[in-house]
Symmetry: C2
Subunit: 458 residues, 2 copies
């Protein structure tokens, strides 16, 4: 089933240089520009030229120094998403602005304000990507000895969304009178006190900003574990999945998320499934494969090995690279990303040596091909119920962003599955998502604010 | 003693409409524009035209609904400072961008990142105003039953600054190599792990962003209680004081802050004293007084009374307005702003009726006069060791901002105490403040990061 507006594209930045930890070494990369706003402006404006629905700033709350190779070779500097999106709100016109938010290491009142504020500053283009933060290093920056348990993180995440969305409904859309003559700024019955008390949060409210233009900035999520999918089914309006090599696997994953949404009483079309994909675009297939080899060659073995040690929470430094890789996988002992762990388990089951495991991990995240091939693959999955669109993770920025917009986007348009025109004014309108009603709508029983209620005396 | 660069001006927004809770009712106010970025852009660009060192976004973390009049008549919507400053970084060129940060309801890792990020986005124009948050309503939005005690708040504030500044030093200025050829992005010995453990915070670090252009974004503070002044003496580079009617009082206050800085081994010139002042600018003195009357007339009595109830933490709703005001002042029982409480005690000691108390509070915060008179007052205090400059709190925005820049700024220039040209590229340079050295500079004994240290194998 295809969508009315065609497939949806998003563009992400995780490592500022591109999808891979050493993308910064690729030709055309500009590693000394990673804190320069013009670098992100160019990225955003290129995506906007390609009609991308949203850009998305991935984020983590730590420096990857678990292994010294991370300091040596990885990009450990990044701009903070909300301040960056504030800046980009003034340098773009149509594209959505999505910030990553850790629900484990934030307070809902702050996050509700910031997202509402970005939504006002951008006139309805704000979105968030809910993450629960996977590494102990993040915990150490926020007063904890270790990360919260995986299950607890997701329970907290669900409650976090509920509080944030409740706070956004603090003021009715028509609560403000701005009546200079009478002196009435707002209507008392247009204000709602949340009074939330849950397992993780006690938040009275109300929020000190008007209901956002989109009512609720769009919620993206990428949890792939059982707990993560459950949260997505209940709340997410866009889901970032991992690219599946096999079409049938991708269709099954797509169906799984949609089913979960429907089970929550939601319309299947109210949740967009957006597999993350990192195309490596070549003039020929051989050229694309050569570029992929280059990505691999520019990645020190040490980094690949240490990344594997990181994901497996096991120090593999002393293991011989070319001997058979033996490892006892036990998902229950892992408190980082369970889905990443599971994908490595599957790769290891097929590979023989340690080197082969990490090479496969590296190469699997990329999709090498010509613009036509890539457009065909993206079209096929979209047409065959495996995707509503894609979250592009560019192999290098700015080079492969330009290439995608100049070479793949026209191919998608030619195939009739994509239209770069923006539909409507807000991100929600562009995505075809309804503007949520207030939880207080039509409810006469909303408790009045707990204030000293006096007769008005303006 | 006058400063090299002349007196320093800052311009603040607290209520979006201006200094007073009902400024939005004044002629020329635009209350329906308070969430429109163009409103703030105009404000910022006007200040920049007047050569203001910085704009400053005041902030609170709640809706003032303790009394129903607050919902009726006050402005309870505001943009979130960091997202707004991100936006303004792209619409201004020279002016400093100062955000208010509550050290009671924030985490230092987040705040260090955001300020560093604004500093990079603006190429060295970020600043913060440290506040400790005065109202229980703020506590209720962050899972607490009541605010932290006043003394605890200030201890936490001091530790907060120490952590944030330590995090900014995580990477040496020359830590990044960006060496695409060798594959080395950063130098290991350019990275420092904070490993902070204190009364309130445990933060390992390092921060995931490069040292800011200003090294440490400029720190403003306004605490006026004993604890507040102690913190200012130790840390603040700019202090917002309350305007003193009496020149001698202002000089004593100025001397008190400078003395505290010197006692901390600091140069007196490394701390700027900036009294907050709200001029009401008239064509004649009578016109200015008429405008002040108008401000008063447009403020419902109920609001003035409820504000007084708020500051005194005592519900005065039932008291007759025109009977003698009797109130037992007990500073030890107050957990909100102790300095505001003390200023009301002094006013009450001279006033007779309740109405007179709140009228005096309202009128005292404004300074009515002609442009020449106001320029004279500002020049006198600057020349006579009572101020290094001023934090302007405009009685209405945009009207009185335009008036100040067009009418008072030229008068200050004529008197030779002000120069609207920007000096240097960063806010620090403009203010004549040194760029702080890293706490790790020259220290050979910096502990290496606690990582698995392997031989490099790029
Ligand atoms: C496209 C995509 C983007 C992601 N971005 C982030 C991110 O910015 N920050 C983060 O901490 N995790 C990020 N994740 C990880 C997920 O949010 C989630 O934490 C991860 O899939 C592990 O969840 P699980 O335990 O449910 O498998 C991303 C995942 C995907 C597929
Ligand atoms: C010019 C000026 C601006 C201030 N801005 C804020 C603010 O934005 N947010 C806030 O919570 N307090 C603000 N305050 C209050 C002070 O930071 C401080 O909390 C107050 O003076 C009470 O501190 P004290 O208990 O030391 O007297 C401001 C004070 C002044 C003089």
């Amino acid at each position: 089933m295809t969508r009315d507006g065609g497939l949806v594209l998003g563009g992400m930045v995780f490592y500022p240089g591109g999808e891979h930890v050493t993308s910064w070494r690729l030709p055309g990369s500009e590693p000394d520009a990673y804190l320069d706003v013009e670098y992100y402006v160019r990225f955003a404006q290129t995506l906007e030229r390609g009609g991308f629905a949203t850009l998305f700033i991935a984020d983590e709350l730590y420096v990857w120094d678990r292994f010294a190779s991370g300091i040596d070779h990885a990009v450990n500097i990044r701009t903070e998403p909300f301040t960056l999106l504030g800046a980009l709100s003034q340098r773009t016109e149509h594209i959505g602005l999505a910030a990553t938010v850790s629900t484990t290491y934030n307070e809902p009142y702050h996050v509700a304000r910031k997202l509402a504020s970005i939504d006002h500053l951008s006139e309805g283009r704000a979105a968030w990507n809910l993450v629960t933060s996977a590494s102990d290093e993040e915990a150490w920056n926020f007063g904890r000895d270790a990360n919260l348990d995986h299950a607890v993180r997701y329970r907290r995440g669900a409650e976090f969304v509920d509080v944030v969305q409740g706070l956004w409904d603090s003021w009715d859309d028509d609560a403000f009178l701005y009546d200079q003559e009478s002196g009435y700024f707002a209507k008392r019955d247009g204000l709602h006190v949340l009074d939330h008390e849950g397992e993780f949060f006690r938040v009275r409210g109300p929020l000190n900003i008007a209901r956002p233009p989109q009512a609720h900035p769009v919620l993206f999520q990428a949890g792939a574990s059982e707990a993560g999918r459950a949260l997505a089914g209940a709340k997410a309006e866009g889901v970032f999945t991992l690219w599946q090599d096999d079409l049938a696997d991708a269709q099954a994953l797509y169906a799984d998320y949609k089913r979960r949404a429907v089970e929550h009483g939601r319309d299947a079309s109210s949740m967009l499934i957006l597999p993350a994909v990192s195309p490596v675009i070549g003039d020929t297939e051989a050229d694309a494969l050569r570029q992929l080899d280059e990505i691999e060659e520019l990645t020190p073995d040490r980094v690949s090995l240490d990344l594997l040690s990181h994901y497996l929470q096991t120090d593999l430094s002393d293991r011989p690279l070319d001997a058979p890789f033996e490892h006892v996988f036990d998902e229950t002992a892992i408190n980082q990303s369970k889905s990443v762990y599971e994908s490595i388990r599957r790769i290891a089951a097929e590979a023989t040596t340690l080197r082969e495991v990490y090479r496969t991990i590296l190469r699997r995240r990329f999709l090498p091909g010509t613009p036509e091939q890539i457009a065909d693959w993206l079209t096929e999955r979209y047409a065959q119920d495996a995707a509503d669109g894609y979250m592009l993770a560019f192999s290098s920025i700015p080079v492969s962003v330009d290439r995608f917009v100049d070479q793949v986007v026209p191919e998608l348009e030619r195939r009739g599955v994509y239209d770069r025109a923006y539909r409507g004014d807000t991100l929600r309108e562009h995505l075809g998502l309804a503007r949520p009603a207030s939880r207080y709508d039509g409810s006469a029983a909303v408790p009045a604010p707990a204030t000293v209620d006096q007769e008005a005396s303006a």
